[in-house]
């Protein structure tokens, strides 16, 4: 399958690959997986005292589209508030990367991952 230039760019030069300490209270971790392709995605955000995402990291084992979706998302969420990041839709990711219909589920995975990361952060900081 032909990948778009943007997917190839993220695949060859993924942004923000790595990990934060998941025990850190400033850090929210989202773990998601897609059983059809066996992909696993970890997306982490580091949130400052003002509720703004200052940094993000990801690690994805999967196809080029899954890697590109999570790489792009880590760029997008930086500087956003949690509420703003919550609003990001998979369709925006799919559109930006020009994902073909069979790869749209990769962008869904990325949206699920950021939602899970926000939830993890909120759960940690509720008490």
């Amino acid at each position: 399958m032909a990948y778009s230039d943007k997917v190839l760019d993220h695949y060859e030069n993924p942004r923000n690959v790595g990990a934060f300490d998941k025990e850190d209270t400033q850090v929210g971790t989202g773990m998601v997986g897609a059983p059809a392709c066996g992909d696993v995605m970890r997306l982490q955000i580091k949130v400052n005292d003002d509720g703004v995402i200052e940094d993000a990291r990801f690690k994805t084992y999967g196809c080029g589209s899954a890697i590109a979706s999570s790489s792009l998302l880590t760029e997008w969420v930086k500087g956003k508030t949690l509420d703003q990041a919550q609003e990001i839709k998979n369709s925006e990711i799919a559109e930006e990367l020009a994902l073909p219909p069979v790869k749209v589920h990769c962008s869904v995975l990325a949206e699920d991952a950021i939602k899970a990361a926000i939830k993890d952060y909120s759960d940690k900081n509720e008490k």
Binding site: M31, G33, D39
Partner: protein, 182 residues
């Protein structure tokens, strides 16, 4: 020749259930292959020849499905009316997903190791053990399945798919490392 409306288990004369006796399956496969063998219909009508080809393909598909523990689980679930949405449903088990991530990291780092084969052997041993454990768990759910057990089987199947993918990745890395030696 063949009853195309039968489910795979009935086609092979095996009880509908998760535990399948491998040698009966192989024996029945050979018997059925003989039944549909195109040589038997070389002088038959065009319809007979067509049915023999279709029959052979049905038998192969059924055999591959019943032989594979993951495909068999999905097929058995569908016989019980549970259709997996393979693309859009995933396990929410965080501990399991974390572990999957770690196993993949381990596989990735192995390429840079000096003596990778020992680690690779150890890793695939652990993956196979996990698969075997899930096979045992899902077999239990399928014994006399009610709705709750079918949903549990579905969750186990989701996990099996991750491990199956990981196993084929492991095999790919192994082949790659062997190529490097040659």
């Amino acid at each position: 020749m063949l009853d195309f409306s039968k489910n795979y288990f009935d086609l092979f004369g095996l009880p509908v259930g998760y535990i399948v006796d491998a040698s009966s399956l192989a024996d029945r496969y050979r018997d059925l292959q003989r039944v549909v063998h195109p040589d038997r219909y070389a002088n038959g009508t065009e319809q007979e020849r067509r049915l023999s080809v279709q029959g052979a393909s049905l038998i192969n598909e059924a055999f591959e499905t019943l032989k594979d523990p993951v495909a068999r689980a999905a097929y058995l679930l569908s016989l019980h009316g549970v259709e997996m949405d393979a693309q859009n449903e995933s396990t929410q088990d965080m501990a399991f997903l974390m572990q999957q991530m770690e196993l993949r990291e381990e596989l990735e780092s192995l390429r840079e190791q000096a003596g990778p084969f020992e680690t690779l052997l150890d890793l695939s041993g652990r993956i196979n053990k996990q698969i075997t454990d899930l096979v045992a768990q899902i077999a239990m759910q399928f014994e006399t399945p009610n709705d709750e057990q079918l949903q549990e089987a579905r969750e186990i199947l989701r996990k099996m798919r991750f491990l199956q993918k990981l196993r084929s990745e492991t095999e790919r890395v192994e082949a790659e490392l062997e190529d490097r030696l040659n």
